[in-house]
């Protein structure tokens, strides 16, 4: 508990307490609390930003809210777990995090590409349906990491292969009830696969059936050089953990890379063109579907990087993604569509305010008194989200389009 507001107890108005703490800047304890609070806020904000970055790009370009974004992060985190496991004991281990970052990016980007080509492509112009479909994907991904095992992998491969072969064959002959038959084939393939994988399970036992990860959380241990923290000379008791510093840097690098990609490269130009006016871009010969696929892949890849970063902060589980998804949505809503600066500001403000409220609100006299009066503990940590959401709704009353809304007319006659 920080002594930041000790002197401010009983003062009725929070502003007053903040003013007082500025007056007591000579007090080193106040300094350290302030610096600590700022750093934690920035650090939380940068995690938010990193996770929201991909979402913001995808939403800005395609108007698609990807509900599976959190699960893509989770995939990235699990990739990190795998990379860490496979590099254990090798000389590369100290640098595994860099390998993991690249691997996470590649894995999730490829998965994003797959998702775009197989599902999302068919749903453009129907944002609400896309939302539901991606939610379905997120459910499947959650269950996937829980139950993936050799048995599962083999069974799925058999089912998919059988189905594909059979439907390819079916496509060659003209046939009246093709779709109906395909559904039938799907059922048959599923049953065969189920039988085979069950047989495998009984034959080889645990080697086959044991889930790779299961429902329990996996731990990622940061490499040696990321443990501990940076002590600052001029303030006491404050330690900036290296992991968090690393994440802040990672966020800055990703941001710079995205900025460079969008503003300095050929494909970035195309992406921006499609963001502004899809049909016009298409008329000018920009392959909008490839732009969509690329954007979605990049957005998903960024989710993977975010997942990798998040895995350093705590253990990784099937629900990892769910913890971040709402906050990242809020970043996009507050930041406005298609504007990186908006996302940056929104992420930092939301990160800061929820951290500061969660940590300090309980110690402000005004809030304590109010809590007593209405019988609800307003200072509880969980109230931070409530307050931040209320602030967001209030904010939207003045700026419904977010911090940096798109202006002007879309088309002139």
């Amino acid at each position: 508990m920080s002594p930041l507001f000790k002197g401010a107890r009983g003062i009725e108005f929070p502003i007053a307490s903040i003013l007082i703490c500025f007056n007591s800047l000579e007090d080193p304890a106040v300094w350290s609390a302030l610096v600590d609070g700022l750093f934690s806020g920035v650090s939380i904000g940068s995690v938010l930003l990193l996770s929201a970055l991909g979402l913001a790009i995808v939403f800005g370009l395609m108007g698609v809210i990807n509900m599976a974004h959190g699960e893509l992060m989770m995939l990235g985190a699990y990739t990190t777990v795998l990379v860490q496991g496979s590099l254990k004991g090798t000389p590369l281990f100290e640098g595994y995090i860099f390998v993991a970052l690249i691997a996470a990016f590649v894995v999730t980007a490829l998965f994003g590409l797959f998702l775009e080509r197989t599902v999302i492509r068919y749903l453009y112009g129907r944002p609400l349906e896309t939302l539901l479909a991606t939610w379905g994907v997120s459910l499947m991904l959650q269950q996937f990491v829980r139950s993936v095992s050799w048995q599962f992998v083999i069974g799925t491969t058999i089912a998919v292969a059988l189905f594909l072969v059979a439907s390819l064959g079916l496509n060659r002959i003209p046939f009246k009830f093709r779709n109906l038959s395909k559904a039938g084939i799907g059922l048959v393939a599923g049953t065969i696969a189920l039988q085979v994988s069950n047989a495998l399970g009984t034959m080889y036992g645990l080697a086959m059936t044991k889930p790779w990860f299961g429902a329990q959380n996996q731990d990622v241990t940061a490499p040696q050089w990321l443990r501990g923290g940076l002590k600052l000379g001029f303030v006491d008791n404050v330690q900036f953990s290296y992991v968090r510093i690393f994440i802040v840097f990672l966020t800055v690098i990703c941001l710079a890379a995205v900025y460079f990609f969008l503003n300095r490269t050929q494909w970035g130009l195309r992406i921006r063109a499609v963001t502004q006016n899809r049909s016009m871009s298409s008329c000018l010969g920009i392959p909008t579907d490839r732009v969509d696929a690329l954007t979605f892949a990049v957005g998903s890849g960024l989710a993977g990087i975010a997942g990798c970063a998040v895995s350093l902060l705590g253990s990784v589980g099937p629900n990892t993604g769910q913890n971040y998804i709402i906050d990242t949505f809020m970043v996009v809503v507050v930041g406005g569509v298609g504007n990186l600066v908006g996302s940056v500001v929104a992420a930092l403000v939301i990160g800061m305010s929820s951290y500061l409220y969660g940590t300090f609100a309980g110690q402000i006299g005004f809030i304590q008194d109010l809590s007593k009066t209405i019988g609800i503990d307003l200072g509880a940590q969980t109230m931070a989200k409530v307050v931040v959401f209320a602030l967001i709704v209030v904010f939207l009353q003045f700026k419904p389009g977010g911090l940096f809304p798109q202006k002007g007319r879309t088309v002139d006659a």
């Binding site: 202006k407 002007g408 007319r409 002139d412 006659a413």
Partner: protein
């Protein structure tokens, strides 16, 4: 205020510094059929947006029947008697033609009166008559989604009339129509002009010639000149703006 139906004074609308309308002055009498023409980007649609409350003026005022429209929202302005037809026909695709008309015709557009509508004798007849006028009576029960482009245009004009506004704003009513359909719509507008004030925005000069009595030319957000079709066509500035396209 004067007896003018619509008065616009010193109207400026700017988007991020770009002036879509620039110090525009305009007025219109009750009962007039006015056509506005102008090259692309002259600000014609922004002009309508500002009258109907979709866009707020940066400077200047719009008075309708003596009232300043600045503070009103779209639906209030619509209730005050300004109806608008959009450039691309906008009808409710999942409702039938008749339902489209009924919604527009409904007199009391409040929540309560919509939940508990009183059916008036004559409402049905009025709607049937309107459908007859726009030539859609035969399709009254088919969903608007099944109408052809020209039929949608006519349906939207019909809905506009059903709203019984004092001023009809019509944005490019013949865009994408065949010559035959264009003439139909033209006759319809001339017919309507007998007891409505109408402001038409149009590109199609043949059509303008068919219906126009008084023409206003917009250019770069301001009024370039005003007069009869013949006057406007012989105006040097207009010819310049249109690169001589008009003196065929």
């Amino acid at each position: 205020m004067s007896s003018k139906l619509l008065t616009i004074e010193n109207l400026t609308v700017s988007f991020d510094g770009f002036k879509a309308l620039n110090n525009l002055n305009f007025s219109m009498d009750a009962g007039e059929l006015r056509v506005i023409i102008g090259p692309n980007g002259a600000g014609k649609t922004t002009f309508l947006d500002t009258i109907t409350g979709k866009t707020q003026p940066t400077q200047g005022t719009v008075h309708f029947k003596g009232k300043n429209l600045a503070k009103f929202k779209e639906h209030t302005i619509a209730k005050m008697g300004i109806g608008r037809k959009f450039q691309t026909p906008r009808v409710y695709l999942n409702l039938s033609v008749r339902e489209n008309m009924t919604l527009a015709h409904h007199k009391h557009k409040t929540l309560f009166k919509t939940l508990f509508p009183k059916s008036h004798w004559g409402d049905k007849d009025a709607i049937a008559q309107l459908l007859e006028t726009v030539g859609l009576l035969g399709k009254a029960n088919s969903p608007a989604a099944l109408l052809a482009h020209g039929e949608k245009q006519r349906l939207e004009i019909g809905m506009l009339v059903a709203q019984s506004p004092d001023l009809l704003l019509v944005d490019e009513p013949v865009a994408g129509l065949t010559d035959e359909e264009t003439e139909k719509v033209g006759n319809l507008l001339i017919d309507l002009a007998k007891d409505h004030s109408i402001l038409v925005i149009e590109h199609d000069m043949e059509f303008v010639r068919q219906i126009a009595r008084k023409v206003t030319v917009l250019h770069e957000g301001s009024v370039l000149c005003e007069g009869t079709m013949d006057e406007v066509q012989t105006d040097r500035r207009v010819i310049e703006v249109y690169l001589g396209q008009q003196d065929e």
